[in-house]
Symmetry: C2
């Protein structure tokens, strides 16, 4: 399996995910922007907007290569001259405050000295946490992981708790998910199986998202829930611009800004020192934005 095979599979995965999402949300519009990178490679950005469920987001594919730049060498601690990187990245901002923000990424990195690794992750950011829906999400991930390595789910779930975390707010971004990096192969998985795991995670994405949607509780959408959604979206902005390694690396290394910042919400709101009322639904959600919660219970 060459790097070109992997990139081709990731490109197919992008197409598959867009088709499945469009079946789930028939009124969503999927633009397609092809772009080239001056130093080598490029990508296809599918910006999504105006759906019944998806207000704004995107499904991005990229395949870039060329000389290792100074900022890459420094930030990624790379040992080599030429790199190759390909991946699929998704962020979807749901229209309804009863539906979550969701993110997924799978990526492959290879150096000319022969080293390679896969990385990826998925995490769910409900505006209001519903424990049953969080359980459904984590159960889907556990079932996927268990098909490859029984130790994987807990290890990668913990990694996600640590990664999708806002230290300046002492809050997790949401109910977490899984996160992994620098995975080339393991005692239990060949390179091919790691690759298959990434593809399987990508194919599971539309199912995990659609399982979070519901159509019969529009009565709970009101000014207060919409305002809470706007405040939670500003936390998402803070995480991505202050802490997310992928976003920061992309921006500082001269990546395509519009593809990287496709992850930004349609609208976000900041309010000085906002505190929800005690025992409100908003306060209940805040209390669950903690690491190390066992959502499978």
């Amino acid at each position: 399996m060459t790097k070109s095979d992997i990139a081709a599979s990731f490109k197919e995965l992008q197409g598959y995910i867009c088709r499945r999402l469009n079946e789930v949300d028939k009124s969503a519009e999927f633009l397609s922007d092809d772009w080239k990178r001056n130093q080598g490679g490029g990508g296809i950005t599918r910006a999504v907007s105006g759906g019944e469920f998806i207000e704004k987001g995107g499904v991005a594919f990229s395949e870039v290569f060329g000389p290792v730049t100074e900022s890459m060498a420094k930030q990624l601690k790379l040992d080599g001259v030429e790199f190759f990187a390909t991946g699929v990245s998704i962020v979807l901002h749901s229209k309804s405050p009863l539906h979550p923000i969701i993110h997924m990424n799978v990526r492959y990195f290879e150096m000319d000295n022969g080293t390679y690794w896969f990385g990826g992750g998925i995490d769910l950011t409900p505006i209001y946490i519903d424990k049953l829906k969080a359980k459904k999400f984590h159960l889907g991930l556990k079932n996927l992981c268990d098909g490859y390595d029984l130790d994987m789910y807990l290890k990668y779930k913990k990694w996600a708790d640590d990664y999708f975390y806002l230290p300046h707010r002492n809050e997790t971004r949401g109910v977490g998910g899984i996160f992994f990096d620098h995975l080339s192969k393991s005692e239990k998985m060949t390179k091919n199986q790691v690759f298959e795991f990434c593809i399987a995670l990508g194919k599971l994405f539309p199912e995990l998202y659609s399982a979070q949607l519901s159509t019969n509780n529009n009565d709970k959408v009101n000014e207060a829930t919409l305002q809470w959604q706007m405040l939670r979206r500003s936390r998402y902005v803070e995480f991505n611009l202050l802490h997310d390694r992928g976003t920061k690396f992309g921006i500082y290394s001269g990546g395509r800004t519009e593809s990287i910042l496709m992850s930004m919400p349609p609208v976000a709101q900041w309010s000085y020192n906002f505190k929800p009322e005690e025992t409100s639904n908003e306060a209940n959600t805040l209390a669950l934005l903690k690491k190390d919660i066992d959502w499978l219970k």
Copy 2:
């Protein structure tokens, strides 16, 4: 002049600026939050909202001291054991898209080994650039600087152009202003004069802001200008969270989050790959978001 004298003057400056701003905008509400820092010192945050002109913002004073932490030593390249820092920071988000976002900061830093320096800056971010108003702003700054050192305005104006810049957008944040750092004294200025310059800049702030306001063009506020304002505000968010050294240092070193992120706009909007129509007012403003423009012409 001791560090305590300087802190006391900065605290008075905060009060003066709030009073003057409240004369300009009588309906604006100024909250007052006192906070303590565990390792030493604290501050007073005056969050502003709900004005006729000012939609959201703040005027913050802080006086913090204690052992130099690891992240301070690394990011500020500090040589010493104990530090003392005090300053006043302002960001105001105007309600009308015809009025600008404005920022100012003056600060003083002292180490136990005897080294000290002042820093500061002010910059203007109009939603629509009006060259006459930009000229008025820069003329006010030039007049101030010229009272101390005839070389200062051009030097600090260039520094502001370089600092208030979004490389990932290839845009300046607005029409710039002045920026300076590590200023202890110079051939032309004693420590006392540098301090006076900082205070004078602070006192000039309310006048510079009120000169940008106008009350008789509400007819130009419509859906299109309000949307452009929301998009420009998202650029402000991007600058502050991705590039602003003060914000990043504050957040990563465990500063008071609500005081640091007081700079965030009330609401911001992101739209994938938004391009204003050619020759529109929006496109004309974009074309002026460049370094090295002589606004005094």
